[in-house]
Symmetry: C3
């Protein structure tokens, strides 16, 4: 049984989804371990992870737009406002989505569906560099 | 340390929750590994996973109904509409719930609470066969 | 490769977030395993887990208040009402957040970001003792 941990930096260009399936695949391949559990973890509370359709970009835009309507900026109920109008909505959006996703790997391949990509979901408006930890454990 | 991966097919009869706790238990039992981490992963972006109350069916119906109200069909904001009125809401519902759930197993038993069942949450209207991967890693 | 499973009891004082990062760290430290995957799992369907900002309490209050507005009590659509006005909303809130979170550990340290704490998110109004299982697997 072997394991490997690698830290990725994924650059987001403002709010929305950025795919990094290839980077996760590279960590799995370079580990030399063919049958593993691969865990993807994001070390932030204002960005999150999602597995989503990688075919039609309109699905990802609609997804982003839905979340912006669900968790609006400048809601008068917010009290945590010192870090900008997009900060509190970003924390809420992160809490409603995922911080860690575990994906089985068989014969060196992630068990992703045909249309399933791994995405960073950035919830802040500024460009960001996000720290994502990929952990591979198996044999 | 040993591991086992098994692919399950769970049939959903349209939108709603279908329990498959027994099938996951069978994978754990047949692995012969008594102390493990069991990861359940769904290879789709329009269906998801949830651990939910397995006693009263009314709780599951209310859960399903809430999500249908939260993410309505035919919202004029959607642009990803070619695959049917239930397609974009299905992607959003999947993103708001879970794609992978990891459950510790001790003495051969999943650490589920008394009322906790493992459910496929189908978000499309048609009957579907969904691919779920169960990974067991331990000793 | 080694593993350890420990059951924690976290006491919640009604609805809201209760941090238990230290308790998880203690399980990791006492395992004597420096490089692991740490999985935190909650055995309930009316409380959940979230990694959230541990600096400013206003962020946690706003998060709790948002979820209370999103999933109101006494919605006339609910049919599962026998266990109290806060019961069905609690199940919905649990389904929209997380039941299990897996965090890589390197050099004995959880890969949490600087501002990331591990929280029990209680969705029932009464004080509760919640059962959380921490599983550590690595070498």
């Amino acid at each position: 049984m072997k394991q490997k941990t690698e830290e990725l930096t994924v650059n987001a260009r403002g709010q929305g989804l950025t795919e990094f399936t290839h980077e996760v695949n590279d960590v799995v391949s370079s580990s030399g371990i063919s049958s593993v559990l691969c865990t993807v973890f994001i070390s932030h509370t204002s960005a999150s992870l999602v597995l989503q359709e990688n075919a039609d970009p309109s699905a990802r835009r609609d997804l982003e737009d839905f979340l912006v309507r669900l968790v609006p900026e400048n809601d008068p109920h917010y009290t945590h406002t010192l870090e900008g109008a997009d900060d509190m909505p970003a924390h809420i959006k992160a809490a409603l989505t995922s911080t860690s996703i575990s994906i089985p790997v068989t014969n060196g391949r992630l068990a992703l569906g045909t249309w399933q990509g791994i995405y960073l979901w950035e919830h802040r408006e500024a460009r960001s560099r996000r720290r994502i930890v990929v952990h591979v454990l198996g044999e």
